[in-house]
Amino acid sequence: MMDRTLLAVAVATPLLVGAGFVMPSWAVFLVSAAMAKALVVLGLLVLLRTGLIPFGQALFFALGAYAAGMALEALHATDAFLALAIGTLLSVVVAAALGALLARYRDIFFAMLSMAFSMILYGLLVKTASLGGTDGFNLPSPTYLGYAPHRGAAETALYVLSAVLLGLAMALVHLYLASPRGRLAEAIRDNEIRVEYLGASVRGAICVKFVIAGALAGVGGILSALSVGHIDPGMAYWTSSGEFVFVTLLAGAGSVFAPFVGSLVFETVRSFAVQYSPQTWQMTLGTVLLLVIVFLPGGLWSLAARLRRARA
């Protein structure tokens, strides 16, 4: 029998793709931004299950985007798949190196050290004039294996790519979390000593999870940059990392669907808050998070579990 979550992903992904062809342009842009963010949060969910949360995930978000942007410029190319391949590869390599070091730390030390690394990248990007310094640089409109969508279809094409990648990532992360290696996360959170005495490497497992999270954040950064058509050092700033943690807490770690739901709620609340109260939109977002923490400590996704229990 097919796994219910995989079945749900298989049904939801084509629906999400289809929605891109009927939604107004502003909604396509908003959902695209939510999908890019959801990929980063999906990676954080993998780490969160071990009890670790990095405050520096913007490092990979920016790294993926800059690597992709620089590669396209250097190669005089515009292909989105090439950008994704190069940006993700660099994110994986850097995540493996930093993961090996960060796996030695726990709690606030893990969080702050990861933030320090992201701020180092931010400092480098701000000071590098050839990369546009604080202004960053623009990206060309992407092509897809030779297909160059005309002006109106460009937004939809990137939306479809984002939806397919998100669906694929959700399915793979779900399979991973249910596998013996994925389930190790909860065991590590509960008792590292027992995990080692069962014969598994705690640091190795954390490093692998950090690489998964780094790769997903890289992909999210690339899609976000292609969607906006611009890259700047703000992507690596600590407030970006804070935003990802914010959405992770808002969403909850209960399901691979939670990051997308959380990101969509976040982007929607932010868009409307900025539109209707431009001076106090942060306060609106803060209030939403406060309400969720007080009334839904397990995140928005715990609502689904509550409804299921109520029906049973």
Binding site: P180, Y197, G199
Partner: protein, 255 residues
């Protein structure tokens, strides 16, 4: 004694200026069931911690099946065939008993950690149930571990230590924190499960009656040293053991 599987020579451990283990020498034969006794601070747990890679010895060597394991860590020692339980059960508190064993089985199975198949398979679940039945805790399978009595957690701790089919099992105070009435029941369940698996067992224990009943050989620790080593009847009757371990000097009128 049959061919020794564990050979410990000149093992020492100091913490700063305090010696916790001094010149420990031991040969452990295959299939032996050894009880370790000693007052608090005598070096029993330090000894177990050194053999199982939790502490690095200050001096001496530990050989298991001819292989030097002195400097190995917990994971490598487990891989070599020595597993352990703890004075305070080291289990996954927020999970069910069933999930604890499933994860232990998943880690122990060769290749399972590289697999994309779900941890929860029918075959693995059957093995988990069989293991829990062997230790008499199958009725608690669905319960969250942190809410269970100490006795069940102790049994689960040992059950999880045996999933990789170790040759030597070291149990650190398997009956501590358990009522006197339950002790024999817990030890009966443990020993029958371990004997069925033909394991070599070394267990640390404070209750002399439990040691006399289950151990074929007793090691008495005092001040970081082994002061007596032999059959329970000999060791428990030894004058030094009675004075330093059983505590007769402190209680001259005790039986």
């Amino acid at each position: 004694m049959s061919e020794p599987i564990l050979v410990v020579e000149g093992l020492e451990k100091s913490f700063g200026g305090v010696a916790a283990a001094r010149d420990i020498n031991l040969r452990l034969g295959e299939g032996e069931v050894v009880g370790v006794i000693g007052a608090n601070g005598a070096g029993k747990t330090t000894f177990v911690n050194m053999v199982t890679g939790y502490l690095k010895p200050s001096a001496g060597t530990i050989r298991f099946r001819g292989r030097d394991i002195t400097r190995l860590g917990p994971r490598e020692v487990t891989g070599a065939g020595i597993c352990r339980s703890f004075q305070v059960p080291q289990v996954f508190g927020s999970m069910s008993v069933h999930d604890n064993v499933m994860i232990a089985l998943g880690i122990a199975e060769k290749g399972a950690l590289a697999s994309w198949r779900p941890l929860e398979t029918g075959e693995r679940a059957r093995r988990a149930t069989a293991l829990l039945e062997r230790y008499g805790i199958a009725s608690s399978a669905g319960r969250e571990v942190r809410l269970l009595p100490q006795g069940v957690r102790k049994l689960l701790d040992v059950a999880m230590a045996t999933v990789s089919d170790p040759e030597l099992l070291m149990l650190d105070e398997p009956t501590s924190g358990i009522s006197t009435e339950e002790k024999n029941d817990i030890m009966d369940r443990l020993m029958s499960a371990l004997r069925a698996g033909r394991k070599t067992v070394l267990f640390v224990e404070h209750d002399m009656a439990v040691v006399a009943r289950y151990a074929g050989r007793v090691l008495a620790f005092y001040d970081g040293r082994i002061i007596a080593d032999g059959p329970p009847s000999t060791v428990l009757a030894d004058a030094d053991v009675r004075r330093h371990v059983v505590g007769e000097a402190l209680h001259p009128h005790a039986a």
